[in-house]
């Protein structure tokens, strides 16, 4: 192995690592705010790519139908909740958020699909439609059980994962898709080719991470989410709605997932079931960060990407084994170095 091969492998590892990092951030965010282990994160990635691929072919993606069904389901649940508490004044706003907005996105995507719009516009449509799924999934699947234990929420997550997986096969078929590259440019730096695509993936990931940082530091909603993550009861006492926090978190997580999907689409072929493995690698990164620290999770995800890339060169048959074995020493170290405390201390 010479230097140029090492450089190519490193480039590949960092590109994949950047995508895993986005997912690791989504996993940490969701766990911190809602205590949900976000197993279906990968489905949002696959939906992101495959929705974009469907738009590329001028077809209305299956995501549209799901969006409509979930919006109607969430709307019905909101009506029941409002009727029970006789808080009719809240109804128009909630219906607007949970029904009208997703339906508007679904209608736009459906009508725009045959127009063969330019790539950036299609990306916006794909990301919007998949992102809108996030809060709806939270409203329908998690919110009724928001107070349950971590284990129950995990079981719900697994169920949501399988439902979305099955729907993915139904919507997009068994075969995979690729989306066109954002750019075919490549640069030569010191004898090594660096593809523009890799640079863009890295750039977009960094931009997204930067935007998230600003959101959490500078905006009221971001601060509310941080407060909820720190102390759920306290946040509630000062008037932060846990439902709002949950929906907002899932919106962000779905956005991160959909964006990862758009970024990964030109690099590899994505299948309806590709997302799970990608998110599992993000999960390894998140575990390195103890499901709590954002910078550590991102660094861990980057490490996973590099390890994967180099092990695929040296021992391709054992690549997954090597990557997932990484979690054992990390867990060992974490369980020895941090003292346990009860999660259900509310």
């Amino acid at each position: 192995m010479d230097l140029s091969i090492a450089a190519l492998l490193a480039q590949d590892g960092i590109t994949n690592g950047a995508i895993y990092a986005l997912l690791a951030l989504a996993l940490v965010l969701v766990f911190a705010v809602t205590r949900v282990i976000f197993v279906p994160a990968g489905e949002f990635v696959a939906y992101g790519t495959l929705t974009l691929a469907a738009l590329q072919l001028g077809k209305s993606p299956g995501t549209v139908g799901l969006l409509v069904a979930l919006a109607l389901g969430a709307g019905a649940m909101e009506c029941v909740a409002v009727a029970r508490r006789r808080a009719w004044r809240a109804l128009p706003r909630r219906l607007g958020l949970y029904v009208a907005a997703p339906l508007a996105i679904a209608a736009t995507v459906h009508l725009a699909a045959p127009l063969q719009l330019s790539l950036p516009l299609q990306i916006v449509l794909a990301v919007a439609s998949v992102t809108a799924l996030g809060p709806l999934v939270y409203r329908v699947a998690y919110q009724p059980l928001a107070g349950a234990s971590v284990l129950v929420l995990l079981i719900v997550s697994v169920a949501v994962h399988f439902v979305l997986l099955g729907l993915g096969l139904w919507f997009f078929g068994a075969e995979g898709s690729r989306t066109p590259a954002f750019t075919s440019a490549s640069f030569r730096v010191g004898g090594v080719n660096i593809s523009g695509q890799s640079l863009l993936v890295l750039l977009f990931s960094l931009l997204l991470i930067g935007a998230l940082y600003l959101f959490f530091e500078r905006t009221l909603y971001g601060k509310a989410l941080r407060a909820t993550a720190l102390n759920r009861v306290g946040a509630r006492l000062v008037g932060i709605s846990p439902n709002l926090a949950g929906s907002l978190t899932f919106l962000l997580a779905a956005l991160l997932g959909a964006f990862s999907g758009v970024l990964i689409g030109p690099i590899t072929t994505v299948y309806y079931d590709s997302g799970f493995l990608v998110s599992l690698k993000g999960f390894v990164g998140a575990i390195i960060g103890g499901l709590a620290s954002y910078p550590l999770a991102a660094a861990g995800a980057l490490l996973v990407g590099l390890l994967e890339s180099f092990s695929s060169f040296w021992a391709s048959a054992y690549k997954e084994v090597i990557v997932f074995t990484l979690i054992i020493p990390v867990l060992l170290w974490r369980s020895l170095s941090t003292h346990q405390y009860e999660d259900e201390h509310e």
Partner: protein
């Protein structure tokens, strides 16, 4: 009770009117319409839906189609259910090799003939009481591997690299290719593995290229086989690229795009039946099947996998009339006769080749079951 009494005459009348349906031949199908093998199982399922419930030699033939989710346990469960509850006369399935291997015990125990749609020669070898009841329609991997080695030899290839799935499909191909390559005097200089869902194969591709082989064989099925190919082309690999017959569907062409140009692969003749000479015995059955299939599922939707399902039907079409001479459907006499009839299939031309099944060879395909195909501008072109 009165209601049941009223219904009884009606029921008797209905039975009398449809006495042909009584004792109809029942075919139990288990295939992998979901899960990792879905891209193979779905065209098979479509094919059986196309066949519907035909009438063979005056007997109605019913198909019961179950999905085994590409899962071995599920396939065995389906097989048991089909045999004990539905009392099927013959089992067709499953799509993949591990499932088919596991199903052999069940059919041998119940003495029901089975026609597998999976590729590995292990399913029907060696000849023993277990494989006595088992047949299979796809070509053996060895037949296809030989075709690749012969073509490589003709193209002056001396060294080759191999990259395949890290599963039974890739392993089986690696073993066959080692044997075929040795026979043809070709050296395998690099062996790499990857997974269907890998986001990147850069490491493997770099390692392959650093060994500088004259040709590279990619042993994957469906669109995942496009991943190493696109990477090889992107990194400027100049040698020949070979694929296996696992990629013979329209989705592969869509995903691989222009990077697929010039790729060579062995395939069932069904893929390019229009380009075969009129005299080819496969042409008629392939034309019948592809015309039916593409009329329903759209032009270019043909796959050789669906053809394996069709071929199972072609074998049954010939064997059922023979077996009917020895017993009524639903009896053990019929099942045994059906097995014997399948085993005596002689020069049966189907969509993917010609079957000459013997007690020693429960596949019975020869060189007529493969052609070399080249990808040119998103089309399959027969290599003459």
């Amino acid at each position: 009770m009165t209601r049941i009494r009223c219904l009884l005459p009606a029921l008797a009348l209905a039975l009398a009117a449809t006495h042909v349906a009584y004792g109809a031949v029942t075919v139990g199908v288990t295939l992998s319409a979901t899960g990792p093998a879905a891209s193979l199982g779905i065209p098979e399922k479509n094919t059986f839906e196309l066949i519907g419930s035909p009438v063979i030699a005056g007997q109605k033939v019913n198909f019961i189609i179950l999905d085994d989710k590409s899962d071995t346990t599920e396939a065995v469960k389906n097989t048991r259910k089909l045999i004990s509850e539905d009392k099927v006369d013959v089992i067709v399935g499953s799509t993949v090799t591990p499932n088919s291997l596991a199903m052999r015990d069940v059919v041998a125990e119940a003495e029901v003939p089975m026609i597998s749609m999976a590729a590995s020669a292990l399913i029907i070898a060696p000849t023993d009481p277990k494989t006595h009841w088992v047949f299979k329609t796809p070509q053996n991997d060895s037949l296809m591997a030989d075709a690749i080695a012969v073509n490589m030899r003709a193209n002056g290839v001396r060294t080759m690299g191999f990259i395949g799935f890290a599963d039974a499909y890739g392993d089986s191909w690696l073993n066959e290719m080692r044997r075929s390559a040795q026979t043809a005097g070709i050296k395998i200089v690099a062996e790499e593995k990857y997974n269907r869902n890998d986001t990147s194969v850069t490491g493997q591709v770099l390692k392959l290229m650093s060994a500088q082989p004259d040709a590279i064989l990619i042993a994957g099925s469906g669109t995942p086989a496009a991943t190493p190919q696109k990477d090889l082309v992107a990194r400027g690999y100049k040698g020949k690229i070979y694929q296996t017959h696992g990629v013979a569907n329209a989705d592969f062409l869509r995903v691989v795009g222009a990077d697929g140009n010039g790729t060579l692969l062995p395939a069932g003749p069904l893929l390019v039946y229009e380009q075969l000479p009129e005299s080819n015995p496969v042409r008629k059955s392939a034309a019948e099947y592809v015309t039916l299939y593409e009329a329903k599922y759209g032009p270019g939707s043909r796959t050789t996998f669906g053809g394996h399902a069709w071929d199972a039907y072609v074998l049954l079409q010939r064997a059922i009339p023979e077996a009917l001479k020895h017993g009524q459907p639903g009896t053990q006499a019929f099942r045994t006769a059906l097995r014997d009839a399948l085993e005596s299939s002689h020069e049966v031309a189907a969509s993917n080749g010609v079957f000459n099944i013997t007690p020693g060879d429960h596949n019975g395909m020869d060189n007529r079951a493969r052609v070399m195909v080249r990808i040119e501008n998103g089309k399959w072109v027969l290599v003459k």
